[in-house]
């Protein structure tokens, strides 16, 4: 990077371009992962409801990874946007009654993303004012206010009973959600995840993403070389909020139900755990972490129905103490050893 910055000639520019192109190159394990993910719908269609949950969780974790792993903002209230997205999509689908524009799932996703992005943009100014601890508490406070609002506005949200009568229409006007075929919902969620993942990957490997990395490394120095630190962080937080909103919207559409549970604190804590679990600032960590979390959850909940939280806590503590970089840290270490070269961090 320093090298390219020094040679601000056409030669330097092309080298910078080559550097970005190298970063953006797809590697074979990535293709394998996505092909496997899509194949699951056809190999185990009956278990697709579970896969659907994983895909939604992965998108939610991806959104937090942008905020936490790239923008470096420690958020304990990311569930606010997930819940907001779920309610926006749920209310839209209810208003449409299963047909027309309002019930169109794609339209629901777009509106959820727009609303959450907008709210995320507004709240990003509050969040960015403080240091880590203040951010933690502001994000938590904002999430609590959202949960409280949803609880109070029972005439709109259904309150503690949940939002009834969510009727999403046909996907792209073609395929209907069908509880006999959970693989439809899974393929829908996975496609959305895939598209948004590609977008996130492009953004992260763009100059904008690299500047985020610089800010995370040292905000003062990043400012000194001409990066508008707060503007960039606002952007990243907005993007993360919009992504979380889409994840919430997917949950509302594929389960045809929204309850206050979407805004509970444990959602924010779980998703943070997933990101740490998978590896912070890796994008793929969100997906691998979500899958591992869901599997682990199912295993632990089956083995010790009431006390699975204990093992979750233990894993967290051990992870922090002994394993740095999460699952992706281990995987990229292995990959580097196999191919004999270091993967771009």
């Amino acid at each position: 990077m320093i090298d390219t910055a020094l040679h601000a000639t056409t030669g330097g520019e092309s080298r910078a371009m080559a550097w970005f192109a190298e970063r953006a190159k797809w590697r074979w394990p990535e293709f394998a992962l996505w092909i496997a993910a899509f194949a699951l719908a056809f190999v185990f269609p009956s278990r697709s409801a579970l896969f659907n949950e994983v895909a939604i969780l992965a998108l939610f974790a991806l959104s937090l990874d942008i905020v936490l792993g790239y923008a470096g903002i420690v958020s304990l209230g990311h569930g606010a946007f997930f819940g907001l997205g779920a309610y926006v999509a749920g209310l839209l689908a209810k208003a449409g009654g299963g047909a027309g524009l309002y019930s169109d799932p794609t339209f629901g996703l777009l509106v959820a993303a727009a609303v959450c992005g907008f709210v995320g943009y507004l709240t990003s100014f509050l969040v960015l004012r403080g240091a880590d601890l203040t951010r933690l508490m502001v994000t938590l406070g904002v999430a609590l206010i959202f949960a409280e609002l949803a609880n109070r506005m029972a005439w709109l949200t259904g309150g503690a009973d949940g939002l009834q009568g969510v009727l999403p229409g046909k996907i792209l006007g073609l395929v209907e959600f069908n509880f006999m075929h959970p693989e439809y919902a899974y393929l829908y969620s996975l496609s959305v995840l895939f598209i948004l993942f590609i977008v996130a990957r492009k953004v992260i490997n763009s100059p904008f993403g690299v500047s985020l990395r610089a800010i995370k490394g040292n905000a003062l120095r990043a400012g000194a070389i001409g990066i508008n630190v707060n503007r960039r962080l606002n952007g990243a937080y907005t993007m993360g909020a919009a992504y979380a909103g889409v994840a919430g919207a997917l949950l509302a559409q594929t389960t045809a139900f929204v309850s206050l549970d979407v805004l509970e604190f444990h959602r924010s804590a779980d998703v943070m755990l997933i990101v740490i679990f998978g590896g912070v600032g890796t994008l793929y960590g969100a997906i691998v972490g979500a899958a591992a979390f869901k599997m682990l959850y199912d295993l632990l909940a089956a083995a010790t129905p009431q006390y699975w939280q204990f093992w979750l806590g233990l894993i967290l503590v051990l992870l922090v103490l002994f394993v740095r970089g999460g699952i992706m840290g281990l995987v990229s270490g292995l990959y580097a050893r196999m191919t004999g070269k270091g993967e771009t961090p």
């Binding site: 933690l136 502001v138 938590l140 406070g141 006390y307 204990f310 233990l314």
Partner: protein, 293 residues
């Protein structure tokens, strides 16, 4: 009206005893300990076990709860927490949330998920009439006890040698170290003492708020509000913040209809809004002073 104020002050006093340890450790080591509530819960359950299994009165439960949680705090600080001081905040948050999850499930396993009922000692049961207002004896005891404790803390912090060292370390731990103050030992002692106070608060409060395994998660938010509003540089800040929060919380429960199962969030809206506003306009807390650095 006066009853609400009275209950609120009792509740606020309890919150202060529960949270003051967190405020000091946060100010001293800049360590985000979300597991502080777990120590309070431990103290509460120790008192419950003492009373239910061994038939001792609450008066014996209080010192035991303090000592055992202080020892527990000292042990965990030396073995686990000490390894995380120089780690990023994110890892501290994850680590302490992990501890919270473990304590929640662990207590659930040993003690059951249902809320514990604590019997107030005979001598403190019932109400007394005070100028036409009937006051609950136990709450009066809590207020008096916590007031004495607060005074002792304030005096200890301002008059003793340890107190001045602690204040120096909170102000600027690097310079304090340079002056030959053993900040590590001070921190370990303070951590243990703060954990003990949380345990004491948990034991004292077990009869007032319901004590169940979800306690650390429920109260984590309250602790953070106290710290956010009160700041971490003094102990008078958290004290006033606690009283404010206690009164606001009790008043909020009184004057708004409760919806079953969502009691903790009733009146919360105002409190959270205040917290966010305070954090935005006075990041150092309502009563704290701006850091000199």
């Amino acid at each position: 009206m006066l009853t609400v104020l009275f209950d609120g002050i009792a509740y606020g006093m309890l919150l202060f005893v529960l949270a003051v340890g967190l405020s000091v450790t946060l100010g001293l080591m800049n360590f985000i300990n979300l597991a502080h509530g777990a120590f309070a819960m431990a103290g509460g359950y120790i008192a419950v076990v003492m009373m239910q299994r061994f038939g001792l009165s609450l008066f014996w439960g209080l010192p035991v709860a303090f000592l055992v949680t202080a020892a527990l705090g000292a042990f965990l600080e030396r073995t686990l927490y000490v390894r995380l001081y120089d780690k990023p905040h994110l890892e501290q948050v994850m680590f302490t949330i992990g501890l919270v999850f473990m304590s929640v499930a662990g207590v659930d396993y040993f003690m059951g998920a249902s809320p514990q009922i604590v019997d107030v000692p005979q001598s403190l049961d019932g109400n007394i009439d005070f100028g036409g207002v009937s006051l609950n004896k136990y709450r009066l005891f809590v207020i008096a006890f916590c007031a004495v404790l607060t005074l002792a803390l304030q005096l200890g912090l301002s008059k003793t040698r340890f107190g001045s060292r602690l204040r120096a370390a909170v102000d600027d731990s690097r310079v304090a170290r340079g002056l030959g103050i053993n900040v590590t030992t001070i921190f370990a002692l303070t951590f243990a003492f703060g954990s003990g106070l949380a345990g004491l608060g948990g034991a004292l409060g077990a009869a007032i708020f319901s004590l169940d395994p979800q306690f650390p998660l429920k109260f984590m938010i309250y602790f953070l509000v106290v710290i956010a509003v009160g700041g971490t540089t003094t102990i008078t800040g958290p004290f006033f913040a606690s009283i404010l929060l206690g009164v606001a919380d009790v008043a909020g429960k009184y004057y708004t209809p409760t919806i079953a199962g969502h009691q903790i969030q009733i009146g919360g809206f105002v409190i959270y809004t205040i917290m966010v506003l305070v954090l935005i306009f006075r990041p150092q807390g309502l009563f704290g002073r701006a850091p000199g650095k």
